[in-house]
Amino acid sequence: MVYQYINNGYYIVLDVCSGSVHVVDELVYDMIALFEKKDRKAIASAIKEKYGDKYSEFDIYEAYSDIEELKESGQLFTEDVYKDVIVDFKKRKTVVKALCLHIAHDCNLACKYCFADEGEYHGQKRELMSLEVGKKAIDFLIENSGSRVNLEVDFFGGEPLMNFEVVKEIVAYGRSKEKEFNKNFRFTLTTNGVLLDDDVIEFCNKEISNVVLSLDGRKCIHDLMRPTRNGKGSYDVIVPKFKNFVEKRGDKSYYVRGTFTRNNTDFSNDFKEMADLGFKEISIEPVVAAPSEDYSIREEDLPKIFEEYDKLALDIIERYKKKKPVTFFHYMIDLNGGPCVYKRLSGCGSGTEYLAVTPQGELYPCHQFVGIDGFKLGTVFDGIENTDVVNEFKLCNVYAKEKCKDCFARFYCSGGCAANSYLYSGGILDTYDIGCKMQQKRVECAIMIKAALADLEEECRDEES
């Protein structure tokens, strides 16, 4: 399967199944589109008809030969052979390698779009995780991780810093087990920033490999959706704290992460605001909300959202040109050192490799399923009991989803988010179509940026030589 598109003047050809990306000129672009439908002579005639004398016989001959060469070397018109290569997903033995610890089902903000209901998660009571449950979760992870060395634990909420002492103790407990069990813990933390002080920063810089800082962008946008419990905006409270954090972070990873809703479909301005504040690693995600919510993303918002993704891509290229690069999470794409095809096919691992743990120690397929009837898998004390649901999640992969089969982006999203699918279609093996379209657009932009940066590098080399 070949996917072609034009963005920012680049004629891009993605050979979906090999992952090969080619930047071509208009002649090759048109000839690739015809290559499997017509023979060489008919293609030459079609090109003559469209372009007149612009391209010589030799140009067409040469372009055709190049296309043939790419095909022969497995970089164009490759078939999807992975279905036969990948083991039967039902039978695959999975291990748990990541936990999302809901360290606090409580929050000091009252964000209007919160899928966690400010920590109450579909009617669960507000409470903090005890150290006992936290330690048991670490034990559960070690016991169920087989030979995996790298284990991940995310401190999530609600707001995890409302239970910071327990966070510290769980980290210490995990570290104390690393050598004995040959494990390497990577701890991450997501915070709204209200309680971020120098003690927390010092701890995070020592122990937390990635910190996600929630900020929606412009003050008016942020304050509209992320008020405090007494209805005031939180922007002025948190932005100085985030700046202080990033200043002290050094080269350790962090993300300033925002959510965009129907209220700010012009979110390229929020990206700009965050980048201009000095943040270098930024993510902005579309809101996950029931269609009935007035701020949810609708189909009719997509043209505007696509324009914004294009603007954001151009902004990123400009910042590279000025040698002040900023990373946008969804435009990071590793064309040469990215994940293997197994990873690309097998989804996010929710319900199998990745589980969420509530303050009571209950296990759910992921943070978004917490509190939803029928999705409780067991507890950290008794292990997995609801194997039917686990087996259902085991089946979650690109080939299990009808709509993914012909999608060019399937090896970049690995079939999309099971929770989004459940929320919009009622089942985990479907897709969230609006989300898919945004994902496709982001992949297009990400690849275009790679093409532009390759040009920039070439220009730099030319200047140097």
Binding site: H22, Q75, N150, C348, Y412, N420
Partner: protein, 46 residues
Amino acid sequence: MKRIKTLTDKTLNSTVVKGGCGECQTSCQSACKTSCTVGNQSCENK
């Protein structure tokens, strides 16, 4: 190839042989939490 610039130097097919160790990061442990992106992750088994 004067009309074609290829940005990739390996194919997905080549990862079938060596891949599948599972040591890489879980996608939702990064910055998303509300979508699924794997294309931007790095292989830990290069």
